[in-house]
């Protein structure tokens, strides 16, 4: 699942402009040609190495799923995806958690980022530091902390009315505890993408212009800032989705079985080919989704600029 996360991170923006767009017009012709040849070789090598680095593991994984040793080629593993026990509940849990995380991250961060744009430098530093903190805390430490807190709650909350809430927060169908952990883990990247989107806007002036036109503060944010933040919000959602789908450590230690945990469990339980086939399918789905997103935003841009 690490592949999902990586691909989401690298494709968040539009494709970077290619470095070499033909030879530079200056300099003697021979020099340019020689330079061109060198550049092409350099690029080729880099492309080859990078390609091998990404494709070989994927290719071998693919091979593993379709090679049914004694009989040869077989698509059985892919057929089993639809019948294998536990996959759908696990996927459902992961998607539910992802949706919850995305909503919570929006609710937390969008007002915060707007406030940072309007407020003082001090506030900005505080928010930035807070949001970066989860990067420095190792996931395993976070999990250990959560476990400790849960144990303490279990020992001390039992006689209090909070116990029902506490149990509900650990409900295996929708573990709020896990959701909260994911929100914390998503903060650093989500903050960065939202803040980058906000940087392109003159937030203060836009808000004031909206207020001047009769919109209250909240209404101004919803009707003027959010629409202009759409692509940043999409990026945030995507990164968060990838993070939640691929997260293993916290979920596994706390004893829940979302997607990633199911794959690993299945693998060690002898369902090897199916679980790996699921990984491949999820990778493909991720790519398709990314492609759709980038084509969609490109089309919108073109529609806006060709009026």
């Amino acid at each position: 699942m690490a592949g999902v996360t990586a691909s989401a991170l690298t494709t968040e923006g539009r494709p970077a402009p290619s470095a070499a767009k033909g030879p530079r017009p200056t300099g003697p012709a021979g020099g340019v040609l020689a330079g061109l040849a060198r550049i092409r070789w350099g690029r080729g090598t880099v492309l080859l190495v990078a390609g091998l680095y990404f494709l070989v593991p994927i290719a071998t994984t693919l091979w593993f799923t379709v090679d049914n040793s004694p009989q040869g080629f077989s698509l059985d593993a892919y057929r089993q995806i639809f019948t294998v026990p536990g996959l759908w509940p696990a996927l459902q849990l992961s998607l539910l958690l992802a949706a919850g995380t995305i909503v919570l991250v929006y609710l937390l961060l969008i007002p915060a980022v707007v406030a940072v744009r309007l407020g003082s430098q001090k506030l900005r530093t505080v928010v930035e530091l807070t949001c970066t903190l989860p990067l420095v805390v190792p996931t395993i430490a976070l999990t250990a902390g959560i476990s400790d807190v849960l144990r303490w709650c279990n020992d001390n909350l039992a006689p209090t009315p909070f116990y029902a809430t506490f149990l509900y927060a650990q409900n295996a169908n929708f573990p709020v505890v896990l959701l909260l952990a994911y929100v914390v883990m998503a903060l650093p990247l989500a903050y960065r993408t939202l803040d980058a989107g906000m940087r392109a806007l003159d937030v203060r002036t836009l808000l004031e212009a909206a207020q001047n036109n009769g919109a209250g503060r909240t209404r101004a944010i919803v009707s003027v800032i959010l629409p202009n933040l759409r692509s940043a919000m999409l990026n945030t959602a995507f990164i968060t989705l990838a993070l939640v789908l691929g997260e293993f450590t916290v979920a596994s230690i706390l004893g829940y079985v979302p997607f990633a945990v199911w794959i690993v469990n299945g693998n060690s339980a002898g369902q090897g080919p199916v679980t790996v086939a699921v990984s491949i399918v999820s990778l493909l789905l991720t790519w398709v989704l990314l492609l759709v997103l980038s084509i969609g935003s490109e089309r919108r841009n073109r529609a806006q600029s060709t009026h």
């Binding site: 003159d202 002036t205 001047n212 202009n228 806006q304």
Partner: protein
């Protein structure tokens, strides 16, 4: 892209003073969209505002009459924007009041104030086309879609961009964006229009066109307008009255002609137009001053005594050939119909004098000349 239409007339540097009565008379000769509320009276009363150690407003008092265009003029940082933002509701005064038609609006939130604002930076909503930008306020007021679009198109027509409704901000030039912003500011039929240096990001030609159009629109609509600028030509050419601000206070508020001819403080005198400073000596009673071999009455009462400097405009300095005073022409600058002479007095002071180009031709550099001032009250200030 369509360019901004050419100006009908050129803007005179100093127009004849047009009082509020003139503009309200013009307001009754209605154009299409002038189904309007008449402008409001705006009063700033003792406004104070400090940001940490800086004092942005230090007791500002100013009254703007209905339908009047007042230009707020002053050096950078004197509090012009802060004053405007208080009227728009984006800034709270530490003390003092903002009155609109006699009613204190200080506590009313920005979105319920009856003031349309055009910002200095481009402020159109990037995700909306020009028509929806203009119609934004109407949407907030829950006006129906058809009515909204009708009104927006009407306003686009009014600002001279009837065919640009479908364009997005990034497809419009700076001048066009500010026109749309003006249309947007007018969409809710505000009774006060606030313009914070709306032209400062535009090039000279577009500025001049837009300046005139804003003035025409403002007069047609009869809307009370505050126009912030630090370009004195802009202020003098557009405004009914010009309010000169300095360090958070009002220095003087008068018609352009009055302001230019009879500045009441040394700051205004030097900030508006060009001023000469010539050494003189005040009489014991402080009522007359002696300079250049003349004795002239002093304008207003002064606390000063003894050695002072007299402030006088280049066009008031008379120059005749011939020595005696020891003044020498050191250079000439051709300005068109007039020529500006630079003259050095024996004490080293440099004086500028504007003469008709014909007269100046007889006084090339190096000529010994005599300076005199017309026998009118003059403004005096401490020596520097």
């Amino acid at each position: 892209m369509t360019t901004d239409p050419a100006p009908a007339t050129t803007v005179a540097a100093v127009p004849s003073p047009a009082g509020p009565t003139d503009s309200s008379a013009a307001a009754t000769s209605t154009a299409p969209v002038t189904d309007k509320a008449s402008g409001a009276t705006v009063q700033f009363v003792g406004l104070r505002r400090t940001f940490g150690a800086t004092t942005a407003l230090d007791g500002l008092d100013l009254t703007v009459n209905p339908g009047e265009l007042v230009a707020l003029l002053g050096p950078s940082g004197c509090g012009k924007t802060t004053a405007l933002r208080m009227l728009a509701g984006f800034e709270m005064p530490d003390s003092g009041q903002v009155l609109v038609d006699g009613e204190d609006v200080t506590r009313i939130p920005a979105h319920r104030r009856d003031a349309g604002m055009v910002f200095q930076s481009y402020s159109l909503f990037p995700h909306l086309n020009a028509r929806d930008n203009v119609a934004f306020g109407l949407k907030m007021r829950k006006t129906g879609k058809a009515e909204r679009h009708r009104r927006a198109d009407e306003l686009l027509e009014l600002v001279g961009l009837p065919t640009h409704g479908d364009r997005y901000p990034h497809q419009l030039s700076g001048g066009q964006q500010q026109r749309i912003a003006l249309a947007r500011a007018l969409a809710l039929r505000p009774r006060v229009l606030l313009l914070d240096e709306p032209l400062s990001a535009l090039d000279a030609k577009v500025r001049e066109n837009l300046r005139e159009e804003i003035r025409r629109l403002q007069q047609d609509l009869g809307i009370t307008t505050l126009f912030v600028t630090h370009d004195q030509e802009e202020a003098l050419s557009m405004a009914d009255r010009v309010a000169v601000m300095h360090a958070g206070r009002l220095e003087q508020c008068d018609t352009p002609a009055e302001l230019y001819a009879r500045p009441t403080t040394a700051f205004v005198a030097e900030f508006v137009g060009t001023m000469n400073r010539i050494d003189g000596v005040l009489a014991e009673d402080g009522k007359t001053v002696e300079l250049l071999g003349q004795r002239l009455p002093v304008d207003g009462a002064t606390e000063l005594r003894g050695e002072v400097q007299v402030l006088t405009r280049p066009e008031n300095v008379r120059v005749t050939a011939g020595g005696g005073q020891g003044a020498i022409v050191t250079g000439t600058t051709f300005l068109g119909s007039s020529t500006r002479l630079a003259i050095q007095l024996p004490d080293g002071t440099s004086v500028k004098a504007d003469l008709s180009t014909h007269d100046a031709a007889a006084l090339p550099a190096g000529t010994a000349v005599t300076l005199s001032l017309p026998d009118r009250p003059v403004l005096v200030d401490t020596r520097r």
